[in-house]
């Protein structure tokens, strides 16, 4: 029995991560889920959110946009359109995006076509800020 699981995070732009880790937590559509080594084969839709993994004694955080996670033969593959480490996140930009989205939301009505888009933008910005803050600690 393996005591590690291989975690691969892939985006269309690059291979973000390919490492042996001890534990992974991901934002599934039905709530957060954890994956330990020797997990059963598993396929899930991911929500935009925070993902983390533990390697040795340290825990690292990533912000992922929605995507898919597959666990198969002790390899977990995360397919996301965007994934970035907390340390890579430009906090100033994320804060600006958050302010902009909040302004848009206050101007728009719920019925407006752009309301959902602005809401999603706000959510993304908040996730990035949250992940960046956790990494910095």
């Amino acid at each position: 029995m393996a005591d590690k699981i291989r975690l691969r995070v892939v985006t269309p732009a690059r291979l973000v991560l390919d490492e042996e880790v001890d534990e992974v937590t991901g934002p599934g559509v039905k709530g957060e889920f954890g994956v330990l080594p020797n997990h059963i084969s598993f396929l899930s839709l991911l929500e935009p959110g925070e993902m983390s993994y533990k390697q040795g004694g340290t825990r690292r955080f990533l912000a992922v946009s929605g995507g898919y996670a597959e666990v198969l033969d002790n390899v977990m593959t995360v397919l996301a359109s965007v994934a970035e480490f907390g340390s890579e996140i430009d906090v100033d930009r994320a804060r600006m995006a958050k302010d902009k989205a909040e302004r848009r939301l206050s101007e728009l009505q719920f019925e407006d076509k752009d309301f959902a888009a602005a809401g999603a933008a706000l959510r993304r910005a908040l996730i990035r800020l949250q992940v960046a803050a956790k990494e910095a600690r």
């Binding site: 559509v29 084969s41 839709l45």
Partner: protein, 286 residues
């Protein structure tokens, strides 16, 4: 016989052109490297997506999702990816020829909508088939993922509304800097590999259900395919331009060589003539 001055002028004009083609070649080489890198980086994602789709699709029938439904192909849409700019050898001509062949093969009883991506293809077919309803110009300036998302959305809504029965994409596949081949792929309905054996299936725990996963998966798959096509096309374009500019530079060198020879000959001829004149005059004065 051209005069000495005319030849000199031509040589210097060719030298200027050569400087330009040389510069363009170097720019293309640098861009090619980046484009190739991007195409390679995108591969693991696309491969994994294809794997997952194969697994998911084997559990559902073709009727399970509107993007899987096969209809009789009466109305076909062709997405043609060409470049925005010329000076890249036979790159666009090859793609346009392939598009013409595709249209011919479909026969006259079918309705074909052409959706050009890139100015060259759009210009060519505007003269022959009239303005296209959707076209995407200047595609190098838009990030491929955004453009792919935009195109996908339009394609899917038309397909689901029954305005098209099948969608194909024609783009240039990047083999090497010297070789780019037009490639035709069907985007919709989504191609499923029906041939696989059932005992190879992996039993997954699905979250949420298979149908929901598939519903989110299929549009994404098309987006990825288009994105890949755009990346390959970009790499191909730079490759084709690099090759074309390389041979243009070589040709300019050759031309300069033969013109220099001609120039020397003309100069020699004029010196000889002047000498003859002087000798002749001196003879006459005796």
């Amino acid at each position: 016989m051209a005069t000495l001055k005319a030849i000199r002028k031509r040589i210097s004009s060719i030298r200027n052109t050569q400087q330009i083609t040389k510069a363009m070649k170097m720019v293309s080489a640098a861009k090619l490297r980046r484009a190739q890198e991007a195409a390679v980086q995108a591969r693991p994602y696309a491969d994994k997506m294809a794997d997952l789709l194969k697994n998911l699709s084997s559990r559902v029938s073709r009727a399970a999702h509107p993007l899987l439904v096969m209809r009789e192909e009466k109305r076909t849409q062709l997405v043609l990816v060409t470049s925005d700019r010329g000076l890249c050898g036979g790159y666009n001509a090859n793609l346009i020829r392939a598009a013409e062949a595709f249209i011919r093969k479909q026969g006259s009883d079918k309705e074909i909508t052409l959706t050009p991506v890139g100015r060259k293809g759009a210009d060519y077919f505007r003269r022959r088939r009239g303005e296209a309803s959707d076209r995407y110009l200047n595609f190098l300036s838009t990030p491929p993922e955004e453009l792919a998302a935009e195109i996908t959305e339009k394609l899917i809504s038309r397909f689901v509304d029954g305005e098209t029965d099948a969608v194909y994409i024609l783009y240039s596949r990047f083999r090497s800097a010297l070789s780019q081949v037009p490639a035709l792929e069907r985007l919709l309905p989504v191609h499923l590999d029906d041939s696989q054996e059932t005992d190879q299936l992996i039993e997954y725990l699905y979250e949420p259900g298979v149908e929901e996963l598939l519903a989110s998966f299929l549009p994404k798959m098309i987006e990825i395919k288009i994105q890949r096509a755009l990346l390959e096309a970009t790499a191909s374009e730079h490759g084709a331009r690099m090759t074309a500019m390389d041979s243009a530079t070589t040709n300019a060198s050759k031309m300069m060589g033969s013109l220099t020879l001609q120039m020397n000959r003309a100069r020699q001829a004029s010196i000889t003539r002047e000498l003859m004149e002087i000798v002749g005059t001196a003879e006459a004065l005796k």
